[in-house]
Symmetry: C2
Subunit: 471 residues, 2 copies
């Protein structure tokens, strides 16, 4: 369920319950350890290959004029769907911290609807399993990835009423069918989306769930193992899993929670990013060609168009625009132990599309190619330290791509690097703070604190994909 | 301090601390009980009258053309300061939940800067006291009210560098001078402000604080007693005090915290308020006269202008616009006990100026005069129940005004009404939920959950001004 029934039950039944989910952390830990109670990874791989074979899916790049149902508005130049739904590509003018001389323009995806990213959970043999789906998206490298049980925009799921069902959606939009484990509105990429929010939900069910060939129940330990493979567990899955309240361990940290929130509040208060939507037409610094909209220096990203032929999707053929980043990203947390307790180095990042100025990102989050023309002292802090890390200190290293429904081959190398103390500078640059995974997790229960890239790494830590337990 | 020093101390000193402030709730409770360790209320009243006498302050309504430094932009008609600082009055076009037929236009205050609302705390004789200031504002009924230690916009406090000091500001902008008890960005009135955020901070200090005639140290119990008087404790003080993490009591509630957050997430996700800033010139439904901008039906509020002569303020004379509401508001929480535990009926309110669609407000928050022309079945839910409540069930009833630096005589009657179970409808309307004061308090630690009106009532509950303890 996603709507708690706020009507009190008949008076004789009114009862109190504990405010906290006291047993959840232990059950999640069991699921992380509960590797292999279901199909082993070889079986999983066979199933996954079979799903891809059973559902032909083909993507071709096309020219903008080949787009059906999508067009550039004759006045604004914005690229939108004829129904006004789904999303549109518009322009954004960004002025960071009142510095007009550092302002820029860029295309941005505007998608005001709140979508649902929902995962069903269920105990088998006393261990929580999560219902994952083999699903193709046009922008995914390899097309098929493992996505949440439900991944639907409102434009998607409002079609339910016209007879196109989104499988298992009813568990997330009708109350009383299970127990909510987490439910939070999270941001997505602030560099590419204008104030996008999706609902990240996990619902535990107790009755039988009708099976379907494209879906599989996996433990958190199994998902953790799959997170070590490249481009398999999709962004939406990573985002939702990161919101689970893993572990109540960690009552101690370098900074108390109040100090941490105070630091974050100060970071939010000192930044003043003005971002205004502007027409995409004649956007300064960007050029619209027949097949792409590019930055004049060919940096950052492109807007392109594709056509899709799908065997198993709700609609068999469609065309759509996608954002295609230029270059592979690097997304990394530096980690260190302080008196034995693992800490991560978070960065309070201002991204132009954020609804509230600043969120916590990983230590490093950038596309190195965008900095290749600059001297080393203008590289992002800690980038060179991460890229030159002793392999023995790398606790996690895998390439993942971002949402394939909006982004084409948007790959980033995700890392967790446990530093030796001697590698660290003695003082931190402004905007960086050490916190524990437990502190980051407790913030991820609320929206607009932990950005989508940090959530990917948090999912890797929570599911055991990142082996920071080894010392 | 408001900036935690994120640089780790030299390695030999790196230490862990508890994440929670385990002793704070008990110390706050002692301060609520610690009534009268400082001046008694008669002494306070004498001091307060003397402060008002010592600082002449005069406010006159003027025509817009008498404004100095403020003018209507010749193109947009927006009313702004010649420096571009402070705030501006602009237009807003609001379309709630995609319903174009229910859209409206209104003037709105645009103030992108984040201000500081800071209170200093210090123990005397083992009891926490809070440093409050007798301060006049042009829009206050009675002019002088009790405000936080520091109440400063960035435009205000950046003048520090030009020699105009804001007293005690250094405790809030320089790290290391104390211990932060709470520090959070909160919204203000979403009907009158466009995405306004202020930093609400309480800092405990351990060294001597230089005294000043306009300031007084009070316990929470004393502030609670003063909150029973009309128009004395100003909105900024109420807002900051509400963020204190009173009481860790209340581990049980009708809904678990996860259920509560899920309900709130659903409320936020189902609402889709589009609010776009538009020119104030020729705003549909509003008329600009020589002395006011009014709604054509004379409802809601007016924009007016005043001149101010101050004896004790940083600048001795100035003029400025103010928002003047039409009619007195009613702001009330319905309360009830469930198995002995007090619950409040919160309303997930969409206000046009909110940064994130919906926040939790009181059960009732409206200006009854705006509904006088409508039949009873179109009055806001629970309004008639509150206004007709048996006086024996009214736990709190006082008139307070909103921020006098922006609003003129913006009075509302604040109530807490403990209902008999028989008075309650058997089911709740959509958007309402019972929660405990402890749950509301834990949400107020984070921004964008608890609106400014609910924070006033939360301050009344936390300081004991509302006597819900009586059964």
């Amino acid at each position: 369920m996603i709507r708690v029934n706020t009507a009190p039950p008949p008076r004789e039944q009114l009862a109190l319950r504990r405010r906290d989910d006291s047993d959840l952390a232990g059950r999640l830990r069991r699921s992380v350890r509960g590797y292999g109670t279901r199909p082993d990874l070889a079986e999983f791989s066979a199933w996954f290959r079979e799903r891809a074979r059973a559902s032909p899916f083909r993507v071709d790049r096309i020219a903008f004029e080949e787009l059906t149902d999508w067009s550039f508005d004759p006045v604004t130049g914005n690229l939108g769907h004829r129904t006004g739904r789904f999303f549109s590509v518009e322009g954004l003018h960004v002025e960071p911290d009142g510095a007009a001389d550092r302002s820029w323009h860029q295309p941005i995806i505007h998608q005001p609807e709140v979508g649902i990213l929902g995962i069903l959970a269920k105990e088998f043999d006393g261990v929580l399993h999560f219902l994952m789906q083999a699903k193709p998206e046009p922008g995914n490298p390899g097309l098929f990835q493992l996505s949440p049980t439900v991944q639907a925009t409102r434009s998607n799921y409002s079609r339910v009423h016209r007879g196109f069902g989104v499988r298992y959606l009813e568990y997330f939009v009708h109350p009383g069918r299970g127990r909510v484990l987490v439910d939070v509105l999270q941001s997505e990429h602030g560099s590419w989306f204008y104030r996008k929010n999706n609902r990240n939900i996990v619902v535990e069910v107790f009755d039988d769930v009708p099976p379907h060939d494209d879906f599989v129940w996996l433990t958190l330990g199994q998902i953790g193992a799959l997170l070590r493979r490249p481009n398999l567990v999709n962004m939406d899955s990573r985002s939702v899993l990161a919101c689970l309240q893993f572990g109540d361990e960690g009552f101690e940290a370098l900074h108390s929670d109040t100090e941490l929130l105070s630091w974050f509040t100060a970071e939010r208060a000192r930044r003043e990013v003005r971002a205004e939507r502007v027409p995409l037409a004649a956007l300064p610094g960007w050029e619209r060609g027949a097949r792409s909209i590019d930055h004049v220096d060919r940096r950052y990203f492109r807007v392109v168009a594709v056509s899709v032929q799908a065997g198993s999707r709700e609609i068999a053929r469609w065309t759509q625009p996608l954002i295609e980043p230029v270059g592979t990203g690097v997304t990394a947390f530096l980690a260190r132990r302080i008196r034995g307790v693992l800490h991560l180095l978070a960065h309070a990042r201002a991204e132009a599309g954020f609804r509230h100025t600043v969120e916590l990102g990983p230590t490093v989050q950038c596309t190195p190619a965008s900095y290749a023309h600059l001297p080393a002292d203008r590289h992002p802090p800690f980038l060179d330290l991460v890229l030159s890390a002793d392999p023995a200190r790398i606790r996690y290293d895998a390439v993942h791509s971002e949402e394939g429904g909006r982004f084409l081959d948007a790959e980033s190398r995700y890392l967790v690097v446990e530093t030796a103390e001697d590698d660290l500078p003695t003082s931190l640059p402004e905007g960086y703070c050490w916190l524990t995974p437990a502190q980051l997790t407790s913030l991820a229960r609320h929206g607009l604190y932990v950005n989508v890239q940090a959530r990917t790494l948090l999912a890797c830590l929570g599911t055991g994909a990142a082996e920071v337990g080894r010392t």
